[in-house]
Symmetry: C2
């Protein structure tokens, strides 16, 4: 479907049957046995070949993506580059070797009881990783996304359930990636809601990654709960991303602050998991007016799918029932950015409903009179991917710093939550419902940890040990030996 | 109850009510706010004070433990020392700082898009850790156990649900530990099955640790599935711990091999999660007879609880229905060690039932004629904590080495699975049903990871950063800075 016109594009994509899903998963499992035995340096070279193939096919890929998502050439070309960069980052992670968390304790017969030789390192999960692609990043969180890149890096085969918002593109991207893989079976692709159910419940699936809505995540968790074995489910779900403007921020550039908020709110028609949905501000007329003016100057755009559009309308209606509108932008693609405003007390009374995410360019401005009463309200917020502070005086943030790290996975100073850097230190996760596992990230180098589990080798013969655990350390991976990092 | 006599000891312990559990959890949550803000070095000093207090009270503690478990002075004094050692290990982990996984990426304005300053490290989970104590280790997997030590180390408060097998001891141990804590509320203790249910479902509980049976673990997982938020559940459940004797082992000391097996099988009346329940052997009369003779020379003993004893009888009856008895030991405490034997084909036909754990001193010997047909049977085994190989030629194990690392968390060469070293490289976990999370261990330094989640700080002011993430690295923790370990 073309989101600009609402008209169908091309022939309908057939949904995968249960038999087809099983065949794809089993082919992936078979291909995975050789892949998990492939040395990390060779897996890195394959990831780099994928990273080369994506931009080499950018022209066809962005056009296919634009036809199904209306996200435009600049954004889509940028996203292809970002996706390629993710594959390159994981190649670097593999060559570095730190992700193995290699630990060696030599035998110590003097201890009570005597300690045998023990060596451990992370190994790929024994099975297929199932990935549910997202609507809002047709490359970076879909078939060429971080879940797929990190799972292949870990040494696992992957089966992706395509997002129905870009089914044609999904097939094209899978073909490009497969061209760079040693075995096309390592990357399976299935289409349709029922296919997702079959995927999650297939015995060969060892873990599931998902980026999407809270109801979608709950549905998948429910399917996993029906399995005999409780496989890990890494879902990145809903996030309201509170932003707290502290009184000292009023000493800074208030117009720039308001413009920054409006820009972050409406970027990509607000269709980002890090979209700022709650803005706590001092009850200051100048600031509140500046925010209203900035949002009034924004324009909407076509949303990705009719379902997302319906959800936005429902969320806006929910906000409108509880709070007066502060400002509205101009209609674009029939979507209007909207901001509502409420006092802190009324917000606290309306929890948890008023802190429910409204996916799209809508937010709730919460006006407080006394900063000392904000902390206990922040404490009651649902988990978020991010929490942001605007202030000119760091000391002013001290009373709320700890609570922000308890309700969000990433805290941001004088910035905006949209924009997620792909790097070693990124953490893109957070307490429920931001993610199903607060200890894991779906972006950045440590995303690989989701698809790994340690194996310990006790008194294991040198000839059978992975190279990374042999005494000579031929691959020069970082290790902890007898308690000391080396 | 005294397991030697089956008679009640002392007054009945009252079960905790829902209100009592809530009060204990809320007191822990309150105490936890100061504890999570306590510097790691100060937390380490507290853990060392606990490690000192346990042996200082050993005389009273072992006697109380023996009255409820009949495990005897030597074993119980050893277990107290082991528990103290676990607290000491986590003090070392805290001083080392590697558990924080600290990562710094400095800002890079030259990148597209520009990268802000990002720093992340692990923080304690924001809430209370609930721990279900085990029957078979009244110290090392109970109130003074690794779950409690690692959670306190992480910076979390803990509420333990005592095991009904040693309720009096649980209260004594809690009092000893509390004497060394800065706030007694940091370690709560509740008694009774219903108390466990209230604990798991309390909103302030952020994670649950458990050591026990598969049905027990499933019941807790079911309670967690009813929560609105899917908190992590780290259960160490059932494990059959296959041992594979390869043909080359026949060239070694067959009598010692058989004696080693019989000793591991009957140690502690077989009441260990690492008890070897499956022994694959070449169909060699000398070896099979040696195994039978060795087991015939063993003696049983009192089991910990009537429920465990009933489970053993059921497991033995299940084995007896499918396989002839190879040998039986002598009755001790009314319990008889028993070994059954079956051919590989019959075993494969009887899967998965024949690979079900029988907790206690019983095992199934599986006789194979052709080593090349063993791999595909191993592939079908449920997950185990351990898998062991006996051989004199490492090359002979190569065809089964990978499958063993896929069905077990620890692989052992020419040893026995009972005996779990507490060290950096230990991994005491494995695929379901050995544990609910194959990526985590309940023994060894990395057990702390279960109670941690990262927080990323973006452009965060130096004054508000944790000391571990400040540029000067005043605590000298290991870090990855701009991609390089330092």
């Amino acid at each position: 479907m073309d989101p600009r016109t609402g008209q169908a594009v091309g022939e309908p994509i057939p949904e995968s049957t249960g038999e087809q899903v099983a065949a794809v998963v089993e082919a992936a499992a078979t291909a995975g046995l050789a892949w998990r035995a492939t040395p990390a340096a060779d897996r890195a070279a394959v990831l780099e070949a994928v990273a080369d193939a994506l931009p080499a096919n950018a022209e066809g890929l962005w056009r296919a993506a634009d036809a199904e998502t209306a996200l435009g050439e600049v954004r889509l070309r940028g996203e292809i580059a970002r996706s390629a960069g993710q594959f390159r980052l994981f190649a670097e992670v593999l060559r570095d070797g730190g992700y193995l968390d290699a630990i060696i304790d030599h035998a110590d017969p003097a201890l009570t009881p005597p300690r045998p030789d023990l060596r451990r390192m992370n190994r790929p999960l024994p099975g297929v990783v199932g990935v549910f692609a997202a609507s809002n990043f047709p490359f970076a969180f879909s078939v060429a996304g971080g879940d797929v890149a990190s799972a292949l890096a870990a040494g696992c085969p992957v089966v992706v359930k395509a997002h129905p918002g870009h089914p044609v593109l999904s097939g094209l991207v899978a073909a490009v990636i497969r061209g760079a893989l040693p075995d096309a079976g390592l990357l399976g692709l299935v289409q349709g809601t029922e296919a997702g159910r079959y995927l999650v419940q297939h015995p060969a699936v060892a873990a599931v990654g998902f980026t999407g809505s809270i109801p979608g995540g709950k549905a998948i968790q429910g399917l996993i709960n029906e399995r005999p074995d409780p496989i890990p489910f890494y879902g990145e779900l809903g996030s309201v991303n509170p932003v707290v403007v502290l009184p000292s921020a009023l000493n800074g550039d208030v117009a720039a602050l308001a413009a920054g908020f409006a820009g972050s709110l409406t970027l990509g028609v607000g269709q980002f998991c890090t979209n700022p949905g709650l803005l706590f501000v001092p009850d200051d007329d100048t600031l509140v007016k500046a925010i209203g003016d900035a949002v009034a100057g924004t324009t909407g755009g076509p949303m990705l799918t009719p379902k997302i559009r319906e959800g936005y309308d429902e969320g806006v209606a929910r906000l409108a029932r509880s709070a007066p509108e502060l400002a509205a932008g101009s209609a674009g693609g029939n979507v209007v950015p909207r901001v509502f405003a409420v006092d802190l007390d009324a917000f606290a009374d309306g929890l948890p409903d008023l802190a429910e995410e409204c996916f799209g360019p809508a937010a709730l401005v919460v006006k407080y009179r006394d900063i000392s009463s904000v902390g206990e309200v922040l404490e009651r917020l649902p988990g978020s991917l991010t929490a942001t502070v605007h202030a000119t005086d760091p000391a002013e943030a001290e009373p709320i710093a700890d609570v922000l790290t308890r309700v969000a996975g990433r805290v941001i100073w004088n910035g905006w939550p949209t924009g997620v850097a792909v790097c070693w230190a990124m953490h893109h996760g957070g307490p429920w419902p931001a993610s199903t596992s607060a200890a894991h990230t779906s972006v950045g180098s440590t995303a690989i940890a989701r698809w790994l589990a340690p194996v310990a080798y006790q008194s294991w013969p040198e000839a059978l040990l992975p190279a990374e655990l042999r005494d000579a350390n031929p691959l020069a991976v970082p290790r902890r030996v007898d308690g000391s990092l080396s």
